[in-house]
């Protein structure tokens, strides 16, 4: 059953990707990338990563779509510009990257097996000891906010810095000052 759901979702992902490449209207591309994020969230739910699926659905399909539509409105750009350049270099780069990624998957352990290195290193310690030690039933939360709280502190600072940067670049009253300068 899970196999068929995965096949259907991945086929739709591929179809949406092709549509994004073919499409020239930027508004359609933004909406299609929102659909892509939503399909990706469904794939992550099938993979039992509900936290990541929630983030993908709210950030990828929700907020970035809104921000991208805002960008289109601000720039007034409705269609992709037609560059008359050769496609040889981009084609080589994307095919090369794809080939390297596929080559890299050959070195990975088989999907979902129990004795993969990632499941034998420190994960058993977390799974066995986190609940007696902290009393928090959700191991993901314990790892993120307790054992790895320095990392999460860093991530929060990254979000803070991102917000600060956007506010400095886009916010503020630069336009009004410029008007005042020309008047005086």
């Amino acid at each position: 059953m899970e196999l068929y759901i995965n096949m259907a979702l991945l086929t739709m992902l591929a179809a949406v990707t092709v549509a994004i490449i073919v499409q020239r209207d930027l508004f359609s591309v933004v909406i299609l990338s929102g659909i892509y994020s939503f399909l990706m969230a469904s794939v992550l739910i099938v993979l039992d990563a509900v936290d990541v699926a929630m983030t993908e659905a709210s950030v990828g399909a929700g907020i970035s779509t809104v921000v991208l539509i805002g960008t289109l409105y601000l720039t007034g750009q409705k269609r992709e510009l037609n560059y008359h350049r050769s496609i040889a270099v981009p084609l080589f780069v994307s095919l090369g990257t794809g080939a390297m990624l596929i080559w890299g998957t050959w070195g990975l352990p088989a999907f979902g097996i129990q004795d993969a290195p990632v499941h034998t290193h420190i994960a058993p310690t977390f799974l066995l000891e986190s609940i007696p030690e902290t009393g928090v039933p959700n191991v993901v939360t314990t790892v993120l906010a307790d054992y790895r709280s320095f990392d999460t502190f860093g991530e929060t600072t990254v979000i803070f810095t991102a917000g600060l940067g956007v506010m400095l670049l886009l916010g503020g009253s630069r336009r009004k000052k410029k008007k005042g300068e020309t008047k005086s």
């Binding site: 928090v136 906010a145 502190f153 991102a162």
Partner: protein, 138 residues
């Protein structure tokens, strides 16, 4: 900007549930999927939905730009202060065990405090980015 009546009424009806869901994801993070980051994004999504349907002025009357700009650093400060409190109790930075009357209670409290910092910063930042984009368009 007059929008569809059905859209306005439906938006008004689901707004409290979106906020409730954000708070559920936040406070239930110890037991179920989600946590501060996801909850913050959902809360910011509520503000964005409200401003899309009713206009940014209406949204900024409820959640002002000043408040949003305060939330962005406030969350990081709450997170950092939790670590300093552990310091004051004589433990390592961000060691929650000493915060409560026993170790388990301390870990619960510490995770909740830290996640509160995350939800405040994330909700503030996402709303601030949206406000900045909208402000620029005028």
């Amino acid at each position: 900007m007059k929008l569809d009546l059905i859209l306005r009424v439906t938006t008004k009806a689901i707004l409290p549930f979106i906020l409730l869901f954000a708070l559920y994801v936040h406070f239930h993070g110890d037991y179920g999927p989600g946590g501060g980051f996801q909850a913050g994004v959902i809360a910011a999504g509520m503000v964005i939905l409200y401003s899309i349907v009713f206009g940014v002025e209406a949204a900024q009357r409820v959640i002002s730009q000043r408040l949003v700009a305060t939330m962005v650093p406030l969350g990081v400060l709450i997170y950092g202060a939790t670590g300093v409190i552990s310091f004051l109790y004589g433990a390592n930075y961000l060691d929650y065990g000493v915060l409560g009357h026993d170790s388990k209670h301390g870990h619960h409290l510490g995770i909740l405090l830290v996640e509160s910092g995350v939800i405040i910063t994330v909700a503030g930042t996402m709303t601030a980015i949206f406000y900045a984009f909208v402000q620029r368009g005028r």
